[in-house]
């Protein structure tokens, strides 16, 4: 709410009478995501990645509700892998409060195996030398997650498990 007293904090009054007053808008909204994003977001909470498929065979992850080029309503579903490849990345050197880690990490665009589009998430690495385009990554699932993108804690590098 706004402080409506003229001598309240944030008021600046100039000699000519002009002044600056604080105005804080705090306002709750709801989001009705509809069945497409709903299927995806609830699927994540069950450890599954659902994707929509268009008539031209494109697999959308996250699912598109409508094809960006043709406007086709996308109602065909497939499940894709929770492992994929980094398409591009950016280094986060100074994370903010609401970000997935409280120390430096990478933002990555990941194309999951079976998908034709990429999705944005965080990658659990601590130094830029640990991330590169083309590297293999997998989902790290959150335990007991609510529906939403937060059901994916982050991505983590796929290590080849000793054999090589």
């Amino acid at each position: 709410m706004t402080d409506e007293t003229a001598d309240g904090p944030g008021y600046a009054i100039a000699e000519d009478g002009s002044f600056t007053a604080p105005l804080t808008l705090a306002y709750p909204y709801a989001r009705t995501v509809g069945p497409t994003y709903g299927t995806f977001l609830t699927g994540l909470a069950a450890g599954k990645v659902h994707a929509t498929v268009s008539a031209d065979g494109t697999v959308f992850v996250p699912p598109a509700e409508f094809h960006a080029s043709t406007g086709e309503a996308l109602t065909q579903w497939v499940e894709v892998a929770s492992e994929g490849e980094v398409v591009s990345w950016s280094w986060e050197s100074a994370p903010g409060n609401a970000q997935p880690f409280d120390r430096p990490f990478a933002w990555v665009l990941v194309c999951l195996d079976g998908a034709g589009t990429s999705m944005l998430h965080a990658l659990d690495v601590t130094d830029p030398s640990e991330v590169r385009t083309g590297m293999r990554v997998r989902v790290r699932w959150a335990a007991d997650a609510e529906p939403g993108i937060g059901a994916i804690t982050c991505f983590e590098p796929v290590t080849t498990g000793g054999a090589s």
């Binding site: 007053a21 909204y29 994003y37 409508f66 094809h67 080029s69 406007g71």
Partner: protein, 387 residues
């Protein structure tokens, strides 16, 4: 070269309700667009340009939703225009779409308007406590209540006129499957007992908060002529605006509205609106605005609009000028779409497609919308015959 003749060839709307939890905003607008296209016998591929309108972004908290909605409207590679004139935006959007065709630039234009009120709270979004104004925190009803009282005082209208309009519109809505409110049991006595919400506006005299969308397909004469279905030929359009507040402003019957309707009648060649218009869908979010707009539009002399209500002239059955046979904004208010619903319902009437709320023999119909602090006006006249 004169303007290209054009017609509404398709009308679509969603079922309006308090919360369409089953669809995203994209799904909501697509539903209306699909219905309008099906009504026109067209597909998205036939459309040359898309014009989209909604009320302030703050109502849902989605900034510039038109960018996101391009996919849902199959607008890739086509021009997309956003129109914004507050509550009148649905009407303005229809007019801008028509102007795209009149200008000769496009042949087939899709106009879409929507609001998903359940994603926000319009009343509070319209009550921002800016530091230099008196904080009323009462939304649109609080803003308009003094104007309604001023109308009642100067016209000496009986106190039950607002309730009469409310009962009429809520009853009309029962014949409209898309209407939000279906309340068949209202009587004048019950309406007069409805709680006072924004004195002198009673609860029943107030519009609901709705989720919904509307869409129109507007086509050039040659395209329209080649289509087999009925058309609503656009005979005249008009838009006007004025500031919200200035000294001497007539808030009850704003000059912009008078100028807008005067131009509308002149362009349409209508000299006696009450006699020549068969049906009108006008923007009445609070029931007293029916007599107020009847005067502002020139259907009645100053202070005489309420007599048309009292005499049953505006009734769907038996009235010579039915107002809001769809049930109007008073029965469905997806704000951004509400003006387009008025324009689309007017078109449906002259196309003979209004179903159970069809006005028999409607050949000339008016769509009207207003917005902001009664400061934006949009109107059109559509007819069954080519102008």
């Amino acid at each position: 070269m004169g303007a290209v003749r054009c017609a509404v060839v398709g009308v679509g709307q969603t079922h309006h309700t308090s919360c369409r939890a089953d669809v995203s905003i994209a799904g909501l607008v697509r539903e209306a667009a699909d219905r309008a296209l099906a009504d026109a016998g067209m597909t998205m591929d036939d459309i040359d340009a898309v014009v989209i309108g909604k009320a302030p972004d703050m109502l849902e908290g989605v900034m510039m939703p038109e960018l996101w909605l391009a996919e849902a409207l199959a607008a890739a590679g086509k021009p997309v225009f956003r129109v914004h004139t507050a509550g009148s935006v649905g009407g303005s959007t229809a007019i801008v779409a028509a102007q795209h065709v009149m200008s000769g630039v496009h042949k087939r234009v899709l106009a879409v308007a929507f609001e998903k009120q359940s994603d926000g709270n319009a009343m509070w979004a319209l009550s921002v406590p800016v530091p230099f104004s008196m904080p009323v925190h009462a939304g649109a009803g609080g803003y308009f209540a003094p104007h309604v009282r001023a109308y009642i005082r100067r016209s000496e209208a009986p106190g039950y006129i607002g309730a009469m309009v409310a009962v009429k519109d809520r009853t009309n809505a029962c014949a409209n499957p898309y209407a939000h409110l279906h309340e068949p049991d209202w009587t004048l006595e019950a309406a007069m007992e409805s709680p006072m919400l924004w004195d002198p506006i009673r609860f029943v005299e107030t519009c609901p908060s709705s989720d919904g969308a509307a869409a129109l397909v507007i086509a050039a004469e040659d395209v329209a002529d080649a289509l087999p279905g009925p058309k609503a030929w656009i005979r005249a359009t008009s838009m006007r605006s004025e500031p919200t507040m200035f000294a001497g402003r007539n808030q009850v019957s704003p000059q912009a509205g008078k100028d807008c309707s005067a131009e509308l009648w002149r362009k349409a060649g209508i000299t006696d609106p009450l006699r020549e218009v068969d049906v009108a869908e006008i923007y009445v979010p609070f029931s007293w605005f029916e007599p107020m707009w009847l005067e502002n539009l020139g259907f009645a002399e100053r202070n005489e609009g309420w007599r048309l209500v009292e005499d049953g002239v505006t009734d769907l059955r038996g009235g010579s000028l039915p107002i809001n046979p769809s049930g109007g904004v008073l029965s469905s208010n997806p704000i951004g779409a509400s003006g387009m619903i008025r324009f689309g319902e007017a078109a449906m009437q002259v196309m003979g497609n209004a179903g159970d709320h069809q006005v028999d023999g409607a050949r000339t119909a008016v769509g009207h919308a207003y917005g902001g602090g009664s400061q934006f006006f949009a109107m059109w006249v559509v007819g069954a015959e080519k102008p």
